[in-house]
Each structure stands twice: as structure tokens, then as C-alpha cells.
Symmetry: C2
Subunit: 366 residues, 2 copies
């Protein structure tokens, strides 16, 4: 991955903004700019920070536990280890680097952390400047190299789904399936799941974010499987919906409606189109059939190093799609007491349309 190119681009932006250095705390941004694979335990337990100076070599700050990993992942950066917290090390390092104005990621820095930075760095004559979304903005547009990595992630995810689907009768409960998914992903070389798999049978499937339970898989009811994995840092995300036994008329009708909405959404995607217009194209199909209120979420979201990232295919976003963006297209209908149906593919935005990254067609067109 061309980290140098990415860093040079950020550095040029920093110089234009008269910022001396940029503290990167957001984990996917950190990985995007350096390749560092350290895992955080949430925002309060970081595995490290990057300092991108406006000119010159970047620094990676971490603690003793991640030292070996940092050196292995980012041998070309200056690695600094903090023993008594990152703030104390920053107070020591930044004056040596002649930093007078430090930018920080205001959308991934806790309010109390920012206050401490302001107070302690202020004592050293260093000013802090909130910066929001600079790296995320770059990350929205994927290079062909990144698209290939995401394609490989999607392919492996489909392979795992395929094996699960083939062996469906072996599983008794939702949890059985979700464990088998996660286990297969790891055995096939995934770094992990990109989110906790959703396996929802019958009425459980009416919750878009259902958590797998010990409930048995109901043979003649809707079964939603929403799953994704991480490979080389890049996420996949796919939902398939089917009935393990015999679907009834209602299922068939709603499934076909959701699929029609998905195809309409995909057909609306090309460079230059507003996100809200893509959402509307799919939503109209569902609304016209009288189920508008049963489709309560947005049509899709960006996917890359994070499983949820910009852009959002939401009714409220007037932003325009650009070549190289990757988004999910996932309409759904959820009926309390009955169940839900969601179908999700990932597509790349191209000049004149979209490229569907999913090859799996299980139960899409029934």
C-alpha cells in the first residue's frame, strides 16, 4: 500500500492550514496512513497514535504491549513508547519537533482528553486545533488496489456463507449458525468479523439488528443472515434472506419487493448522483407497495477499512457519489410479529453505473 503518497497528501493539506503536526487517534485512519494493525479496546484504551508532522517522518506512539507489533508493521516510522500515558510523551516530544500548532481528530477524541491536551500542551506554548474527517474524506475514494482487497474480502465472505448455506440442516439455533460463521471466517484466514453476525429466524428477523439467540431455526419462516469479515484490514458486509423450508405467499411477495427495491437502488448508482436520490429510487418501490413505514433505515453505507464509513445512502444526504466509492445497497422490510427481509450487496461506484462486488446469488431472485 502506498502510505507515502497518502501521508504526503495529508502533509500538503496541513501546510496549507498552517498546522505543524496532526495527531491521528482514529484506528482506521491510523491503519490507512501507516499500516499499523494494533487493535484498540474502544476509544478509552488505544493501541497507539500517529503524529504526522507537516514535513518529514511520521511517529507512532504506543505502549509496551504493542512495541513489537508497531516495529513489525511500521518499520519506517519513528516508534516511541509511552510508560505514563500518551499525553506526557506528547508534552515531551512536540517541543523537540518544534510544533506550535497541533491538530487533533475532534470526531475521535474524547472531550476530557481534548481538555487535557489543551491545558498541558498550552503550558508548552502549543495550541491545539480540532480537525474533523480529513482522513475519512480521503478514505471514501478507493484506489483499484483497495477495491481488489475489498473484492477478496467479499469473495471470502461469500465462500463462508456458501458453506453455511450448504450445511444448513446441521444447525439447530441462531447461535449455532453465528458461531459456525465466525469460526469458518477465522479458519479461512480472516482477521476477524467486521461486526457481530446477525442470524435471525422468524419473528426475530423483524429486528434489523437482532442478536443471535438460542431460538431454534424455524423451517418455514424467514431467516436473515447478515455477515462480514475483515481481510488485510478491509471489510465485507452481505445479507442474504431465505426460508430453510417452504416460503409462504407473503414471504415470496415481500422478498420480491425487497429485491426489486435493491435492483432499483443499484440501477440509480453512478458518479455524480446524490446519495438521497439513490435512497429514494429504492424506497419508492417499497413505499409504492404500501410498506414505506416498514423500511426504517437508510439504504446503505460506505465500506472500507471500517464496515460503516462515509458516504451514507440516506434520505438526508445531498452529497454526490464519486468514482471509486464503495457502498452497500440493503433495503429491508420489517414487520413486528411476523419477521423481516433484508438483502444486501456491496457495489463500486463507476462513471456510468456500478460494479456489483457480490457474485453470490443465493435466493436473490426467487
Amino acid at each position: 500500500m502506498n502510505y507515502t503518497r497518502r501521508i504526503k497528501k495529508i502533509q500538503a493539506k496541513l501546510r496549507r492550514k498552517k498546522i505543524d503536526a496532526f495527531l491521528i487517534s482514529q484506528p482506521e485512519n491510523r491503519r490507512y496512513l501507516s499500516g499499523y494493525t494494533g487493535d484498540d479496546y474502544g476509544i478509552s484504551e488505544s493501541s497507539g497514535y500517529l503524529i504526522i508532522p507537516a514535513r518529514g517522518k511520521i511517529l507512532l506512539l504506543t505502549d509496551f504491549r504493542y512495541k513489537a507489533q508497531a516495529k513489525q508493521d511500521v518499520p519506517w516510522a519513528t516508534i516511541k513508547i509511552y510508560k505514563q500515558g500518551s499525553l506526557r510523551l506528547l508534552c515531551k516530544l512536540l517541543p523537540d519537533l518544534n510544533v506550535k500548532n497541533l491538530a487533533f481528530e475532534s470526531h475521535y477524541t474524547l472531550f476530557s482528553t481534548a481538555q487535557n491536551l489543551k491545558t498541558e500542551l498550552g503550558k508548552k506554548g502549543i495550541q491545539i486545533t480540532p480537525l474533523e474527517g480529513m482522513v475519512e474524506k480521503m478514505r471514501r475514494i478507493k484506489t483499484e488496489e483497495e477495491i481488489d482487497l475489498i473484492r477478496t474480502s467479499v469473495r471470502l465472505n461469500e465462500k463462508v456463507f456458501g458453506e453455511i448455506f450448504k450445511n444448513l440442516p446441521e444447525f439447530e439455533t441462531e447461535i449455532d449458525i453465528s458461531l459456525a460463521i465466525e469460526s469458518l471466517m477465522r479458519r479461512k484466514g480472516a482477521e476477524g468479523t467486521s461486526f457481530d453476525s446477525i442470524v435471525a429466524s422468524g419473528t426475530n428477523s423483524s429486528l434489523p439488528h437482532a442478536v443471535p439467540t438460542q431460538s431454534p431455526i424455524q423451517k418455514n419462516k424467514s431467516l436473515t443472515i447478515d455477515m462480514g469479515l475483515v481481510l488485510s484490514g478491509y471489510c465485507s458486509d452481505m445479507t442474504r434472506n431465505f426460508v430453510p423450508g417452504e416460503p409462504d405467499k407473503r414471504y415470496l411477495k415481500l422478498h420480491r419487493l425487497v429485491r426489486k427495491a435493491q435492483l432499483a437502488g443499484m440501477a440509480a448508482i453512478r458518479a455524480g448522483v446524490r446519495c438521497c436520490d439513490v435512497d429514494r429510487a429504492a424506497r419508492k418501490i417499497i413505499a409504492d407497495a404500501g410498506y414505506g413505514k416498514r423500511f426504517g433505515h437508510s439504504l446503505g453505507h460506505g465500506v472500507g477499512l471500517a464496515v460503516h464509513e462515509p458516504p451514507s445512502l440516506s434520505a438526508r444526504s445531498t452529497k454526490k457519489l464519486r468514482v471509486g466509492m464503495i457502498v452497500t445497497v440493503e433495503p429491508g422490510i420489517y414487520i413486528p410479529g411476523w419477521g423481516g427481509i433484508r438483502l444486501e450487496n456491496m457495489v463500486v461506484v463507476r462513471e456510468d453505473g456500478c460494479e456489483n462486488l457480490n457474485k453470490d446469488t443465493t435466493w436473490l431472485d426467487i
Copy 2:
């Protein structure tokens, strides 16, 4: 769980501070005060917020996806659903509740979110006040009811470990073991793992936070298994270290040293003792034997609804232990190129000593 008592305590504190309402964003605090089990996807994708007014009924704000879960978990709260983000709903609700001064959790609110709150609520004449750690402070001291829940979590964790240990020859790689652990946990009724299990064989065990790999389990080398689960919201956390085959002299010597340090740490624990003194009691054993630099982390941490929470048994903490706190005691020695050994139990701080929550004694005293 007595949520009413907890909320009344917070409300009394708010009234003393002249705060009209407190916005709770930290997930474990949210669960502690309401029992709401919604899962967040990191700080940027919350499954909801509590509003604790200084007087009266609490509110739970969430979105469409979590509506059913919110109603099921917290039927006694007022549930409000936001469609266009939590901020817009807050702007609408707070004036109706006559809130002039809203406190927010500054240690679990993003800087940019706090800025938006300040701007938008400011327009309604509402002032915001950062509050740090009020609920965490309450959470440090566990009631006997909570201790029982944690004991049950520890017991189930040990049961899972016991089955893994018994079937050790079945597993080929670190990942095989970690998958089996997670699968057993879920099958036995755990809500999930409290952290990604660490299974580290041979030289991998020299990384305190090793990620399981496809490396085969080495028969005559150190094997570290650090695992924990969540049951009824409460976490367990335990590390056992052993050699699947025959330990050599060096392993035996270092293992006994770590165990001696652990026992010294446990012996130092009782109400009124400073955290740093407990850390020192254990560290001294390791340092006196010449391995001080090989024990790079703190002796332990609090465990409860979160797997890492206050207090910290750290060399820098002069805070005093109090009856009802639960902490881990987990010294370790890590030698690059050779391997590492860590032993971890969980104990309850009592008036005159500590109560060891772990009954498992596998390979502790060899």
C-alpha cells in the same frame, strides 16, 4: 437489580451540583442505571442515551433499530425514538423538561459532539457542563448481589477453561483454541466474551496482548490462555499458564516466581491499602529475582460491567482499596524470543483481606 436506588443516588448528586439533567452516553453506565442491554458499535454508533433528570422519571433515547429492545429492557422509563439523530431530539425534549443546565459525560463524549451540543442547546438557552466519572465511581463498589453475579460469571469462565484444558490434545493451533473457547462460552449461555481471548504458545506468549495465530501449539513451551466472558452483563477475566508437554527448568522457575508474586499481591489486598502498595508487593518479588524489567504492565484492574474499570492496581495510583471492590491480580514475566508467563485471578476486597473468586487451580502451584 435496584436501579431506583442507583438513580436516586445520582439524582441527589445532581441536585447538589445544581444540574437539571445528566446525559449518560457511556454504555456500561447506561446499563448500570437502567438495565438497558443495547450494544454500541463503538463510540460513534451508539445504541442510545439516558437522560437522568434531577427529579422524576428517566428517559431512554434510541433509534428505530433498538426500540423493541429498549421497551423490553426498561419498561419503566420513557422511551423516545430519534429519527434524525439524538441531538435534534435533545433540542426538542430538554426545553419541555425545563432543563437549563445539562451535564454530559466528558470522558465518553467526543469533542465534536460536545461542540455540537454546546452550539445547538445554547440556542435554546441550555448550558452544558462536563462531568467525569460520577457513575464509574459508584460502580467501583459492588453490592453482594453484584458480587454474586460476578462469581457466577467467573464460575462459568472456569468451566469453559476446564473443558478446553481437558481436551487440549484435540487442538492444533492457537486459533483452534480461541474459537473453541468463544464457542463454548456462547453455548453455555454467556452473552459473549469480555475481550478477544488470548491464546499464545511459545515465543508468542512473550507478547502480553498476543493475538491468536495459525501457529501450532508447541508441546513443550509456555502456553498462555487469558479469557473472560460476560454473563448478565458482568465480566470475568482469568489467565492460566502451563506447558502442554514437559516444562523445562526455566519455565518452572519463572512460573513459580510469577505465582509467588501473585500470592504476595493477594496477601497485600485489604480495605484501606493503597493500590500502588499492592502493585509493589507483587512487583518486589519479581524485581528481587532480577526480572523487574520483564514485568511491564500494572498488577491488575477493576472488573465489573466493564472488563477494565477502576480501580487500577498500578504503581502510580495512590487511591485506597475499599470493601466491595473487585480487582484482578495478574503479574507476568515476558522474555522476548523465549515466551511469557502470566497468572490472573479475580478477588473481592474485604475488610481484612481479599476473597479469591477463582476456584480453578490448574497449574497454579507446580
